[in-house]
C-alpha cells in the first residue's frame, strides 16, 4: 500500500501534538512518526514514552528518535537497545567523518540532511551509494522552508545538491513542523519535489513508496538480519490459517522430530529492499513431504 506518510512530527506539549496529529489525519496521511530529538548523545537512560494519542482506523502512529552526530567516538550509543527499540532511528551528521560513519556503519533508518545552513560537508557519490545499498533513506524537512526565507534558500540548495549526486531515488520529504499550520497535504509535498529536480514519479515516491520501504527496513533492523521469523501456531492471524494445511508436516516426520509443532508455523516476512525472499526453507520442506 503506497499510502502517504509523514515521518517527522516533533514531539512537544500534549495539546499541540494532538493538533498536529489531527491535522495530519485530515490532510490524508496514513501514518505519522512522532519524533524525539536528542541534541547530544550521552549515556542517559531515556525510556520510550508511550503517549495516549487520538486514534483512527488505518492511521498508524509510530515513534522515532533523532540525534545529531557531532563526534565519531560517541556514536556507539546508537546501537544500544534503548535507541533501537524505537520504530524509526534517524541521525543528522554534521561533519564528513560522521556522515561517512552514518552511511556505512551505523544501524539507522534515516539520515537527515540539515536545511538550516549550508551543508558543512561535501557529498560523495560513493558514500551515498553505500547508504542506499543498506536501505537508508535521506530526509529533507520542508517546514523550516515555510517558516523563514533564508531557510527556504538553504532547503532548495541543499536538496538540489543532493539530488544531483544521488539522481533523486532515495529521498523522503517530511515536515518537522512546530505547529499544525506548517503541515502540508501529501500531494502538495509531492509537487514540491519538482523544485528539487525530482521527476514526477520520484516526487510522489518521496512521500509514499520510500516511506513504505523505510518501514520494512526498520522492521528488519529490529529483527537483526533475519530471514525467517518463527511464530506460534495459535498466533497466526485468521486470514492466513489456510497456510497451515499447505505446510502441514507429514505425520511420520512429526514423530521423528518429537512433534515440535512450532516448526510448522514458519511464517515468511514480506520482502523488503535488502532481504532475500523467505520462501526457500519452507518450500524445500514441502517438496520433501510430497515426494
Amino acid at each position: 500500500m503506497s499510502a502517504p506518510m509523514d515521518f517527522n512530527i516533533p514531539t512537544c506539549e500534549r495539546s499541540t501534538l494532538k493538533e498536529k496529529i489531527k491535522m495530519a489525519h485530515r490532510l490524508g496521511y496514513k501514518a505519522v512518526a512522532i519524533n524525539i530529538f536528542i541534541p547530544e548523545l550521552t549515556q542517559t537512560s531515556k525510556k520510550k514514552k508511550s503517549q495516549q494519542q487520538p486514534t483512527w482506523k488505518s492511521f498508524r502512529q509510530l515513534t522515532r528518535i533523532s540525534a545529531t552526530l557531532a563526534d565519531v567516538q560517541h556514536n556507539f550509543v546508537m546501537s544500544t537497545d534503548i535507541v533501537q527499540q524505537y520504530d524509526l532511528v534517524a541521525v543528522q551528521p554534521t561533519t564528513d567523518k560522521t556522515f561517512y560513519q552514518a552511511c556505512t556503519a551505523l544501524n539507522v533508518d534515516i539520515i537527515t540532511l540539515d536545511v538550516t545552513e549550508k551543508l558543512p560537508f561535501k557529498l560523495k557519490r560513493t558514500t551515498i551509494n553505500a547508504a542506499v545499498q543498506r536501505g537508508i533513506k535521506f530526509e529533507f524537512q520542508y517546514s523550516p522552508a515555510i517558516r523563514d526565507s533564508t531557510l527556504r534558500k538553504y532547503f532548495i540548495a541543499n536538496a538540489q545538491q543532493f539530488v544531483f549526486c544521488d539522481k533523486g531515488k532515495n529521498i523522503i520529504l517530511t515536515s518537522g513542523c512546530e505547529k499544525a499550520m506548517e503541515l502540508r497535504g501529501p500531494y502538495d509535498v509531492a509537487n514540491l519535489g519538482s523544485l528539487l529536480n525530482l521527476n514526477a514519479a520520484q516526487s510522489k515516491a518521496a512521500v509514499t513508496l520510500n516511506c513504505e520501504a523505510l518501514l520494512k527496513h526498520s522492521e528488519s533492523r529490529r529483527l537483526n538480519k533475519s530471514v525467517s521469523k518463527v511464530e506460534k501456531l495459535e498466533e497466526i492471524p485468521g486470514n492466513e490459517t489456510w497456510l497451515l494445511d499447505k505446510l502441514r508436516v507429514h505425520s511420520s516426520l512429526e514423530s521423528v522430530n518429537g512433534g515440535s509443532r512450532d516448526i510448522a508455523g514458519i511464517h515468511g516476512i514480506d520482502s523488503s529492499d535488502e532481504e532475500t525472499s523467505v520462501d526457500g526453507p519452507a518450500a524445500k520442506k514441502i517438496k520433501l513431504v510430497q515426494t
Binding site: M1, S2, P4, A157, N199, A200, K204
Partner: protein
Amino acid sequence: MAASMNDVLNTGKLVFERSSFKNEKENHKMTILNQYFNHTVQLLLPGTEDLPADMDTLLIQEASFLVREVPLSFFLNEEFIEGFVKSGLMQALSVGTCVDNENCIALLPTGVLLLSVCTDTYQDIGLEGRPSEWPNKHVIEIDLTDKNFRSGNKLHARTKSCFNERWTLKWDFLVNWTPKDPKICSTSIQNYFKHQNIVCNRLKFTKHVQKHKQLMVPTFCPDSFECSGKQIMQSGDCGERPCDQYEVFEWLGACALGVEMTGNGVGDYISNYTCPSPNTTVPAAVCASYSSMFSSHTIQLLMEKLRDFMQTKDQRWCSVTVHGFMDAPVAWRRDHGFHSNGDNLYTFVLFQNGDYWQIRALGPQDNCV
C-alpha cells in the same frame, strides 16, 4: 548552486474533437457509453429561462444506491449474476478508496469485476492479473458473464476460496442498475440487497440551478476552433476573430464554478477573469449542476433530449459537461490513475446544425482511446 527544472510535471491532457451527429461514423456514442462511472452533470443553456422539465426529471430520478459492508464473495453469488449482471447494466464502484494508495473494486456494466490492487495485495491473494498501466498497481479482471464461470470451474473455485478465506474485507459501494427489460423497475436491486441483510440506501443527489439575467457569452461557431496553431475560421458570420475552443472551455468552467465575471476585470483582487471577447449578451441563461452516480445509459438519454431541445427551440448552442469519479479505476476502458489529479471529464458543445465539439480533459495518469 542553482539548477534548472528539467522535468516539468505533466498535469493532464485536453483532447478536442469536432464532428456532427449526422455523421454516421461518429464516435460521440463511444465517448458517452464507455465512460461508466459519472459523478456530476453540468448543463449550460444560454437563451433559456428555465431548465426543461424532462431533463430535470431524468437526472433526478437516477436510481443509485449506497450499500455498506459488502464482502467480495457477494459478487460471485449465482442469483446475483443471473438476476442482475446478465439481465441489465449493473455497475458498482467502491467508495472511500483512493485509487493511487489503496485497493479499488469496480463492477463494470460489461459484467467484468475489476480489482485494482496494490502490489502487496496482488502477491497475497493469488489471483491472476496484469500490471496496470500506472505504476505500483495490478489489475485483476474477472468476467462474471462468462458461461464457463460457475461452480465446477477451476477459476471460479479459486476466486471463491480467495474471497471467502483470504480477502474477506468488506467494502462500501455505489451501485446502479439499468434493467434490459423496461418493465422491471431499477429499484429492485435495493430489495435484493435488503433481502441479503445489507444496508442499502438511495444515494442523495445534489442539484444546483443558477439562473442568469443578461449573461455575456462568448461568440463562436462550429468552425472557429484552433488546430495546430492556426484558427480554421478567421472570421465569418461571427464578425471579428471568434473565440477558439480553449477560451470557450475555460469560460464554461468559470460559469460552472460561479465565477463573478461582471467586474471590469483588471483591478479586482479575487479574480480578474472576464468573458473572452468577442461576446454577446443573452437576456437569460440557466446553469444547472447535478451530482449523484449516473450511468452512461442515462447520459445517452440526456444527450438525445438535448438534441431534441436544440431542434425545437431556436438555440445557437448549449453545453453539457460530465465528470467522472476521480477514484474510478477505469476511464474510457483504459486504466485510470491518480497522480496529482484524477480528472476524467468530457464536455459536449452542441450547435444548431447538428455539429458538436467534444472536449475531453484527462489527468496525468490517463490514456484516452
